[in-house]
Structures are given as C-alpha cells and as structure tokens.
C-alpha cells in the first residue's frame, strides 16, 4: 500500500525522488514507464498521487495520464508531471487530461514537499 507512485524510466530519478519522499515519512511505489505505471495504479487503490515523467519508453507520461482518467476512470488520483519538458502545448494537453501540476526537472524536494503532502492529505 503506497501513497505516492513515482513513474520514471530513469532509475536515478526514481531513487532520488523515492528516497526523498521516504525520508519524509511517505510510502512510495515505482513504475518504470507509463504502461508499468498504469499497472501499478490498478494494483494499489491506496495511491493518491502520481509523480510522472513525460518522455518514457513504451508509453509516455501524458498518454498514461489520459488513460488513468479515461480507461481506468480514476478521477480521484492526483497527477503531477516531473519532466524536463516545459512546452505550453504539452502543459495544455496535461491540463486537458486533468493533471494537477507540472514540475520542470531537476527535482527539488524541499520546494514541493508541502504541496505533495497537501494533495494526499498527509
């Protein structure tokens, strides 16, 4: 049972973000791409927040977000993108998919921890 699902094809980012969240008392699960992220979300109904990269193999993060809302019909889970992308068009696509927020890498945990905790009600 995890509160937060981190989806990124980079093991470095998964470690960095996961370690930071765990050190701050949060339960974390991981996905290695959009397809894996969907499977992990399906398997764990306790997940309240997905932190997700955009550019990933097999299934990108925006497609995954669209499938979370569409195929899975999950409107409750919050989705925040953590990506190097900063294009307005991509953000618009994310907004349309019901994404809650956007973070441009590199990850700065201290700057976002409070917001994450609010989103999951911790």
């Amino acid at each position: 049972m995890a509160q937060i699902l981190v989806v990124d094809d980079s093991s470095t980012v998964r470690n960095e973000v996961g370690d930071f969240l765990k050190k701050n008392g949060l339960d974390v699960a991981f996905g290695v791409d959009g397809r894996d992220g969907l499977a992990k979300l399906k398997a764990d109904p306790a997940i309240k927040l997905i932190i997700c990269d955009v550019n990933m193999p097999n299934m990108d993060g925006l497609t995954m977000a669209e499938k979370v809302r569409g195929e899975l019909g999950n409107a409750a889970v919050h989705i925040v993108m953590l990506t190097t992308e900063n294009s307005p068009a991509m953000k618009e696509r994310g907004k349309a998919a019901g994404i809650k927020g956007w973070i441009v890498k590199p990850f700065n945990g201290d700057a976002v921890l409070g917001s994450f905790k609010k989103l999951i009600g911790a």
Partner: protein
C-alpha cells in the same frame, strides 16, 4: 567566424625547430588555438587517445629530410582524415613541387615567415561553423546546473568550450540524443569513463545507493539522466515549441568499435565542452571527466538562432510546482 572570447581549439605541433615552435605558438594564441607540442615517437599514441583535437601542424623536415614530414603527414591523414593538417615548408613556397596525393594531404601550407597566411584556412577548416556566443554560454550554464543536480557536494568545472574535428569516442559510457529545433538539428553526446563514475557512486556522491553501482546499468542511468536534463533545458531555452516538420532528413550514424570512432556523416566541426567533477574534500579521488559534444550535422542555421524569454508566465523556475 566565431566568438573570439568563448571558443578555442587545440592543435598538435610536430616541429623540431624551437624557434619555429615559438613563432607557431604566438600565431596560435592569436587565432584562439592552443598549441600542444608532441614528440614524433609519441604521435600515434596521442592520435589514438586524444579526443579533442582541431588540427595538426607539421614541419616538412621533421626527421631531418624534407620528405619526412610529408610522409608522416600522409600517414596521419590516412589514420585521422578528419583532422586538417598544416605543413610548414622550409623554403619552398606553395605546393607546386608536391604530387597530387601529397597536396591532398594538407589543408594548408606555409613558411614560418608567412605563417599569417594560414589565418584564413584555419577559419574555414577549424572554425567553419558560427556558434552564437549566447548559445555557447547557455549550454555551459545548463550543463553546469544539470551536473550539480546529479552529484552531491562536487565541484563542477567546465573548460573554455572548444571546437574539435576528431571523431574519437572517449571512455566507456556514451549517450546520444537528437537535438531538434527550427534552427538546428543534430545530436548531443556525453562521454565518460566508467571507473571514476563508479568511484563517485561508491562514495555516495550520486542519487543511487553505493551498492547499486555494481550494476553497470545504473551507471549508464546516471549519464542518461544528465543527458535528459541538458536536452530538456536546451529545448526549453532554444526551441520555438513548434512542431518539427515531418519526414525530416536523416543520415546513418556509424560507430567503429575497433577504432573507437563515430561518424555522423558530416565533416562539420563539433562544439565540445570538457566537464570535470571533483571532490574538494577528497583530492585523492580521481575526478570524473565528461566530454559533451554537439554535432549539428542535419541543419545549422545560426542566423535563425533565438532564445526563449525566460520571464514568460508559463515558464516556472526548475524544481518548483506549477499548479493547474
């Protein structure tokens, strides 16, 4: 042809005359060239290992006979045809007395009292692409911040960016990512040795656990994420956020592992940044050197270069959450 203050290139100097080497060095300094003296007996090992050369200056009487330098030049040309060779002639002006094959070996010829005549051929053969200084500075900035975000407590030093013509691969870990925009198309590569990177992982200087360094794929992943960060920063700063035209031209990229050589199908010089990461608290630890190269082999239109306005409302500082 280039920004005088931001770009240099390195040339090997094969010349036994100390007086000529002195004049060559003075000339090189004025051309933003860093002259590196090399002994003939060390030449082959230097050529096999040196990954950041712009050209070679060679004296025709290197071994005491006029033909020695020319013969050596032909051997170098066969080995490293991408490197321009500049032949210093002892007394004969020009190349009329040389065979066609010998003429084709050398990009430029000169006598020491006429060395200034090389200026134009150096501009066209070494510094043949215009790199906007804002671009060069911007890449250095984004590389510096990306490296700092992925290593804990290390000093990041970036040498003065330079132009290289060689195509040698450095180290064991090599990343390659396309750079696509409306004014440039090509690739960025990062190249590093595995051993010093592993040392940093074991010293807990990265975001992966020391034990995870035993899996080489995790070391690959570190360089991969740095590549991703720089690529994203480049796109956000220099691309127009417009869809790139479909069916764009591509050329095969060829890697020859035997010769540690990569070809992008273009003779264009590459823009190179040498980044050195070191631990000030542990000077005995071997520094990690990362070579970052940009090769704009598919499109290079610096006249259309532009930098996005970072103050736009939709551009939030890196690492901060933009809530929708």
């Amino acid at each position: 042809m280039r920004d005088e203050k931001t770009l240099i290139s390195k040339v090997l100097v094969l010349d036994n005359s100390s007086e000529c080497r002195k004049q060559i060095r003075t000339f090189c300094e004025a051309q933003n060239l860093q002259a590196l003296k090399v002994l003939e007996e060390n030449l082959l090992s230097v050529l096999r290992s040196n990954v950041d050369l712009g050209g070679i200056m060679i004296a025709e009487d290197l071994g005491g006979k006029p033909q020695d330098g020319i013969r050596l030049g032909q051997q170098i040309h066969a080995l490293r045809p991408e490197l321009p060779l500049f032949l210093r002639r002892e007394s004969v002006q020009g190349t009329n007395d040389l065979s066609e094959a010998e003429k084709a070996t050398f990009t430029g010829v000169y006598t020491i009292d006429q060395i200034h005549t090389l200026q134009e051929v150096i501009e066209t053969s070494i510094f043949s692409l215009v790199y906007p200084p804002q671009l060069v500075r911007g890449i250095a900035e984004m590389t510096q911040s990306s490296l700092q975000s992925q290593f804990k407590g290390l000093a990041v030093h970036i040498d003065t960016p330079y132009i290289v013509r060689d195509r040698l691969i450095f180290g064991e870990i090599f990343t390659l990512i396309p750079i696509e925009s409306d004014w440039c198309r090509g690739y960025m590569t990062l190249q590093a040795e595995e051993a010093p990177l592993l040392t940093l992982v074991k010293a807990n200087k990265t975001h992966i656990a020391p034990v995870e360094g035993d899996d080489f794929r995790n070391l690959n992943g570190i360089l991969g994420e740095i590549t991703n960060l720089i690529w994203g920063a480049f796109k956000n700063r220099y691309s127009a956020f417009k869809p790139v035209q479909a069916h764009l031209a591509q050329v095969p990229i060829v890697i020859n592992h035997m010769h540690r050589y990569i070809s992008f199908g273009s003779v264009n010089p590459q823009l190179c940044f040498k980044c050195t990461l070191s631990d000030a608290d542990n000077p005995a630890m071997a520094p990690l050197v990362i070579y970052q190269r940009f090769v704009f082999n598919l499109n290079w239109s610096p006249e259309d270069f532009h930098e996005n306005d970072q103050s736009l409302d939709n551009l939030v500082a890196s690492g901060e959450l933009e809530l929708f």
